[in-house]
Amino acid sequence: MTGDDTFKIGDRVFRSRLMVGTGKYKTNEEMIAALDASGAEIVTVAVRRVNLDRTKESLLDHIDTDKYTLLPNTAACFTADDAVRTSMLAREAMDTDLVKLEVIGDEKTLFPDNEALLVAARILVKEGFTVLPYTTDDPIMARKLEDAGCAAVMPLAAPIGSGLGIRNPYNIRIIMETVSVPVIVDAGVGTASDAAIAMELGCDALLMNTGIAGARDPVRMARAMNCAVEAGRLAYLSGRIPRKLYATASSPLDGLIG
């Protein structure tokens, strides 16, 4: 990627447009290799109770916090109150103001509860957090989240872990026209082409976890996603040709033999 093609979240500047999760890997070694292959600068982590049974190995023993910006999430929070509490704990544990805010509305779809999300977002912005909310692909909701002071919006491509790809590219485009904060497509990416399509739409970045961690060869898939995000971004910046029904010759018609 060209060196000057960067995007900002709050005051922080990033070059890689692929953000990755750290869940579901078979081993920590596999996770570290996949993070490296993905080229990501931002990686998400979750907040959970410490084990009291003396198995105390920490994720932070494995992830180089000088190399990666850690983005704590509030995954599995079903109320605004739980999401706010989890964010406060993450800030204390990680000494970061960043939070990927999730308030889940339903266990089967893991779709966000947008009403509760907005409540939590307003509280956390007031508390000084840099809030990245995971939301449905709803332009009106995206506008409300921006108005609430969120540093980005993270519309879903498809349900978390579904691998269905971008189900509604038109909504993603409208969201990009609606808000001026970065649009980070989050969740539902299944393979490299899904990632490229998201980036070709012009979204600022992409966040994925299962698409990489769940692949048969996660490290290779991380590399594929890295390439796809870069390819999609370059294609977006290059301006694709219009779609036409009929052919246009690419070789000159002058000078034909005959």
Partner: protein, 66 residues
């Protein structure tokens, strides 16, 4: 005294500080956070903050996630 720690009932020394509780449980303080009755206890106050009978304490860390 009894208190609720990460959802489990625990018996700890009367008036134990947050810091001594963490030490007793062999929990390293790097990368963790403590919540006492739904309020975060900042690291700088672990030593001075004393627990009492019936408190609800959460100790969290970061794990892999998306």
């Amino acid at each position: 005294m009894k208190l609720l720690l990460n959802g489990e009932e625990k018996v700890l020394a009367d008036g134990i500080s947050v810091l001594d509780m963490l030490n007793a449980l062999e929990i390293e303080r790097r990368g963790i956070a403590v919540e006492l009755n739904r309020e975060v206890v900042p690291k700088g106050r672990h030593e001075e903050t004393r627990l009492k009978e019936g408190d609800t304490v959460e100790v969290i860390r970061m794990v892999g996630g998306g």
